[in-house]
Symmetry: C2
DNA sequence: TGGAGAATTTGACCTGGATCATTGTTGATG
DNA sequence: CATCAACAATGATCCAGGTCAAATTCTCCA
């Protein structure tokens, strides 16, 4: 059995996130093969960039702890937030086609990352059928989730957007065996607004409104969901079976 | 050399779209292997559905001719258009993860389709390295394009959305060796509005406005782009290098 | 521990695009 | 080729959420 060479380094096999991350549905032996090509650098500090637009694409990245914001800068210099990545989630998938990063990624807090060279993913996934299957699924899931966001941005009101956003985070924390009703938002209000296509002020106002109607308790970045039913109701104006599919 | 068994059936090798479609960057022999597992049914009539939400996922589909609209119905019964697919483009990618279709697809006009069972894609892509690479790229491109749409929906004004939409179609027609300045919109105004997060009326108004300012000539579904510069300018509030990457 | 700058909240006001209503157009079908 | 239903255009009105301004609260160093 493979051991970590350094007792502070966690192997894929030992990692609590392996069911969410690359090694999903691999055998222990296969997991060790993946493990061999995973690089674990020192953690990123808050605000530090993992990669930026235009940079050559070589690797995919998995978040081990912390949180990452993916974004784009348009030619007016405005930022557009594309997504947030939590532990076990994988970044860089949008660059496989162009071989250049088409977005930037920055740590929202101290964040540990696993890096895996894409050419090694390609090699391994020719050999390990389960890895290929899993890669297809990861990519497909990303597409599905992006489409859900499109529905949100195309149709929903400010309150529905915030509701969907919070429900989405809640479900993701739940998958990670964290509280689904009390958590800390790793991103600023500006980022939330930007991501959801709303002004910061609107985000603030919706938060206070939801707080007044006893749906939430908000204290800075700490959020407690008091009425998950209501939140789920305003969130689920999208296709219901998508929702149930993403609940484990 | 492989021949079509029926002279009316076009093999991948003969297909003018093969550079855009599954067989991209395959050798002729590899192309024939793909060809063997491609099913070519009879064309869909306008309005006919290729698959619907909830249906079991078995295959990916490539458009051979015509056009397909992908959409979702939310629980209020409202439609949300997710995308439009032109010849050479591939549908069904969003269902790989869940193994159920999470959207529906319907022909906007008489449309010929190639079907390829996903399990056969998986098998073949273990054997044919180029096919695996290409599948990763197709999936990645879809993610990138969805993210571009997110930027559009999150930030842009009505005019910018229509401009981006038309430029995007223009580039796609160009790739297919069709005119990039004169083409027929296969979809209704309602679909355009729905896709772009705008009311139909707004789509109409922007069309007439752009017509008055000599940027377009619109006649029903026929569009002529008169001032491609202007269109490209209002469209490109997104990251410029994405644009250049998608131009061949 | 203080204090500067950033982030957040709140209020007042305004506008782009939604909605509603009506009319004109088109194209499919008997 | 007349008819009807879906589609498209245009005008009038309205409002959700944007923008601007200002007050308040965090946060993180020195």
């Amino acid at each position: 059995m493979k051991e970590a060479s350094n007792k502070f380094v966690v192997t894929c096999r030992q990692c609590s996130l392996n069911a969410l991350c690359f090694p999903y549905s691999l055998t222990f032996d296969e997991m060790d093969e993946v493990d061999d090509v995973v690089k674990r650098g020192k953690p990123l500090q808050r605000g530090q960039e993992l990669f930026t637009t235009g940079q050559e694409f070589t690797s995919l990245y998995a978040v081990r702890s912390g949180a990452i914001k993916a974004y784009n800068i348009d030619e007016n210099g405005d930022e557009q937030v594309i997504g947030f990545f939590l532990p076990g989630e994988i970044l860089g998938l949008d660059a496989i086609d162009t071989q250049k990063h088409v977005s930037s990624a920055k740590a929202l807090e101290t964040t540990a990352i696993c890096e895996i060279t894409f050419s090694q993913v390609q090699e391994l996934s020719l050999k390990i059928r389960n890895l290929q299957t899993h890669m297809y699924r990861i990519l497909s899931r990303e597409i599905r989730e992006d489409q859900e966001l499109q529905m949100l941005l195309g149709k929903k009101t400010a309150e529905e957007r915030i509701g969907s956003f919070l429900m989405n985070l809640s479900l993701r924390y739940e998958q990670r065996s964290l509280s689904s009703t009390r958590f800390r938002l790793p991103m600023a209000r500006t980022d939330i607004g930007n991501y959801l296509g709303l002004a910061v002020e609107t985000v603030s106002r919706v938060f206070t409104r939801l707080q007044n109607s006893k749906v939430l308790r908000v204290e800075g970045k700490e959020v407690e969901i008091l009425d998950r039913n209501y939140l789920s109701k305003i969130a689920n104006n999208d296709c219901p079976n998508i929702q149930s599919a993403s609940v484990k």
